[in-house]
């Protein structure tokens, strides 16, 4: 490919990324900031595609731009309209803590110094000879890992412990969200246009999630992207004002939420009992085990992300227990 044209493309892409980030943080209007952040996420996904990271691009588009944007937009709901285009008077998020101009300049200089330090470290790292040992050992062991997509192999086999802890982080965040209060108010039922869209969009999203889960073994995809797509289906149902958004009730919800971690631990401990190190799958079974773990992880991720969007205690908890809890906290 012509390197000059690629350079122009890179320059334009990076310019738009930096301008979107700047604009998102420079504006005073919160809605505008959130929408610019979503656009930033999508252009970032393009950058990941250009840097030959398609799994990351899929995840960024689905989770980073899509679900983060949905969460942030749900948070600015019911804000009073800004009086002028610049003010956010009456916004519920203003702290009242303004920083003096001198301190602002000090912080800006410190951040610039941080950027300089990071850039120096990066250049220093690049100037040393590239260490290929890790990459070579991954390519050497790829067949034994059970999948042929190297990113999936790293995530679910070579560094499976990290992924297990990541699922635990997700679960902890949702436990925090549940313990903080009731679900956010629902949305009004959809009109005919939106309802028509929902009727065919949600089945396609579910199908796409299944496809991403399956194809993650040999092409870009995987459990996280599939889980995010499934959560997006639930978000669309909730935005259309439906009561049933795909989350199971009560006990089943708890089962689904811990399914990812549970199956992961079960596989790891079974392997341990059979005499191998923790989470070291026997190569003959590795593909099947990874698929099993990924399926449970997909359901778990979808349920937790959807619960995070819905915003609080699921409706299935008895109202009296909830009211008693809140009474205890108040007094």
């Amino acid at each position: 490919m012509n390197t000059a044209s690629l350079l122009v493309f890179d320059g334009l892409l990076l310019l738009s990324i930096v301008s979107l980030a700047w604009a998102s943080l420079a504006t005073r209007d919160e809605r505008r900031s959130v929408i610019l952040f979503m656009a930033f996420g999508l252009v970032l996904a393009m950058a990941w595609g250009r840097l030959l990271a398609p799994d990351v691009a899929l995840a960024e588009a689905a989770i980073g731009a899509g679900l983060s944007g949905a969460l942030l937009l749900a948070a600015v709901r019911k804000q009073p309209r800004p009086l002028s285009s610049g003010s956010t008077r009456g916004s519920r998020y203003l702290d009242g803590a303004q920083v003096r101009t001198v301190s602002r300049w000090g912080v800006t200089l410190l951040c610039a110094a941080l950027a300089g330090a990071l850039a120096w470290a990066l250049l220093h790292a690049f100037n040393n000879a590239p260490q290929d040992a890790l990459h070579r050992s991954i390519s050497a062991n790829l067949e034994a890992s059970g999948v042929s997509n190297p990113v999936t192999a790293v995530l679910l086999n070579f560094r499976a412990y990290d992924t297990l802890l990541e699922l635990a982080v997700l679960l902890t965040a949702v436990l925090g969200i549940i313990s903080l209060g009731q679900t956010t108010t629902g949305y009004t039922p959809a009109g005919p246009v939106f309802e028509g869209l929902v009727r065919w969009l949600v089945p396609i999203l579910i199908l796409t999630a299944g496809y991403l889960l399956w194809v993650g073994a040999h092409a870009p995809g995987g459990a996280f992207q599939a889980g995010a797509t499934l959560a997006a289906a639930g978000v669309v149902l909730r935005l259309a004002g439906r009561r049933i958004i795909g989350l199971p009730d009560g006990f089943m919800l708890r089962i689904v939420m811990v399914a990812g971690i549970g199956v992961f631990l079960l596989v790891g401990l079974t392997v341990l009992v059979l005499g191998r190190p923790f989470l070291d799958y026997p190569p003959a079974w590795a593909g099947a085990l990874i698929l099993m773990i990924e399926t449970a992880a997909m359901l778990s991720i979808a349920a937790t992300l959807l619960l995070a969007f819905v915003g609080g205690q699921p409706r299935s908890m008895p109202a009296r227990a909830v009211a008693n809890q809140q009474h205890e906290e108040m007094s």
């Binding site: 490919m1 690629l6 890179d10 320059g11 990076l14 930096v18 980030a21 998102s24 919160e30 900031s33 959130v34 996420g41 950058a47 990941w48 840097l51 030959l52 990271a53 990351v56 995840a59 960024e60 989770i63 980073g64 983060s68 969460l71 942030l72 749900a74 948070a75 956010t88 916004s91 519920r92 998020y93 203003l94 009242g96 602002r104 912080v107 951040c111 950027a115 990071l118 850039a119 990066l122 250049l123 690049f126 100037n127 990459h135 190297p150 990113v151 192999a153 790293v154 995530l155 990290d162 965040a173 949702v174 925090g176 969200i177 903080l180 209060g181 991720i301 995070a308 915003g311 609080g312």
Partner: protein, 95 residues
């Protein structure tokens, strides 16, 4: 060292600084959460630039897996931060 790595890595540093400044100075809590996400995106950009090895060689999968993990952790932290903000305003009686 490739040109693309250099460009994207340095832009990642700039975006981290932008996000940090916003996270420290912005008056609105919501936009501080956005700024922290922007910081995260800058770090991811640095990692993916490190993983890139040119148009001919396959990229290094380990930083890409780290970034994938980071994206999921960032969204769960954002969700928790927003729930905390909502509860904060209920408790302060602003709602």
């Amino acid at each position: 060292m490739l040109t693309a790595q250099l460009l994207y890595g340095l832009t990642g540093c700039v975006i981290v600084a932008l996000g940090l400044r916003g996270a420290l100075l912005h008056p609105s809590l919501l936009q501080r959460v956005v700024a922290i996400n922007v910081m995260g995106a800058g770090v991811f950009m640095m990692l993916i630039a490190i993983a890139y090895r040119g148009p001919d060689l396959p990229p290094d999968p380990v930083p890409q897996a780290l970034v994938l993990t980071g994206i999921v952790v960032a969204v769960s932290a954002t969700a928790l931060a927003l729930a905390l903000a909502r509860r904060l305003h209920v408790e302060q009686g602003n709602d």
